[in-house]
Amino acid sequence: MSLLLTLYWIFFKIGLFTFGGGYAMLPLMEAEIIARQGWLTHPEFIDIIAVAEATPGPVAINSATYVGFQVAGIPGSLLATLGVISPSLLLLLVLGPFLLRWIKDPRVQRFTRGLRPAVIALILLAAISLGRAALVDWSTLIIAAGLLGLRLLRRTSPLITIALGALLGLLLYPY
């Protein structure tokens, strides 16, 4: 029971501090689930993100469901999912009518304007530590560089990028 409550609470925190879309939850999940609880290793975490990208739905929610399942089966997956969506529900249901006016307040605007660079800094650091676990040899380095180039220059979609990654893995797997 306490494991399930811990899962709910951790994902509640993650949902509450994910500003700026999906990847903003990566540093929070890394800190809570890998560093603090030791529930997953970096490679396991990347595999979960890969599955979350390849399946329908928001990446933040898919990865919460998957991590919850890894930690405590089906009840774990449900509580982690509820945890990550609870802050949005509470904020919008309780504060909904005031939010638009409140968010246009100059102080709130300046606060969020400083908050966004912080999120960028944290995602970059998470990308580095995930990169260390993912880029283990020349082939993986070339896959990452090639797909990054395609994504930036040709605007390939996330789903195509994931599919190409799996295909290149099959072609270049050395073991």
Partner: protein
């Protein structure tokens, strides 16, 4: 008769089941979350069903970009609330996550355990991992180009990265530090995005 045409179809109450089903569909068929889902929600709710008008949709975008949580989720909840009050919001949230949760449970609970040790699956994940890194980096670069404008934002990013590397504080503290720094370094009248 113009008086009758002025009555919008939104006058007829949209059932909770209909709200659930629309968001179930949106959740089941959109990949990539956030920016990929918003155009689909717009197509489905503004253009096809006319449940929400374009101005409300844009107003809502301002809200969800400043709020925590997955953007597609926030968008769904706001629309649900607009259509049927608090219960509409709850039903929209459950609808949009239902299919993804089922798919993940099927994969994680049934399929992957069967094939996890298979050489082909191992090989696929060997390539999936660098693909994920490429996705994260490209998203960060895109987001950065949009957000990190002006030298103060660049200094803030570098300063917070160094702070994080040396002291390893909880990411929540770095986020709050960024917000406080925003209050201090941007003066009145500078809150509008350039």
């Amino acid at each position: 008769m113009p008086e009758e045409r002025a009555k919008p179809e939104a006058e007829t109450r949209i059932s909770l089941l209909a709200i659930f089903l629309v968001f179930l569909k949106i959740g089941a068929f959109t990949f990539g979350g956030g920016y990929a889902m918003l155009p689909i929600i717009q197509e489905e709710l503004v253009r096809r069903r006319r449940w929400v008008d374009q101005d409300t949709f844009i107003d809502n975008l301002v809200i969800i970009q400043s709020l925590p949580g997955a953007m597609a989720l926030n968008k769904s909840i706001l629309t649900g609330i607009k259509l049927r009050g608090p219960w509409g919001g709850v039903v929209a949230a459950l609808g949009v996550v239902a299919a993804p949760v089922l798919v993940i449970l099927l994969l994680a609970g049934l399929l992957l355990p069967l094939f996890r040790e298979h050489a082909a699956v191992q090989a696929a994940f060997y390539g999936l991992r660098p693909a994920v890194v490429a996705l994260i980096l490209s998203a960060t670069l895109d987001l950065g180009r949009e957000i990190v404008r002006g030298w103060r934002a660049v200094v803030l990013v570098l300063f917070l990265m160094l702070l994080s590397l040396f002291f390893q504080p909880h990411p929540i503290l770095i986020i709050l530090a960024g917000g406080l720094a925003g209050l201090l370094i941007y003066r009145k009248g500078e809150e509008e995005k350039e």
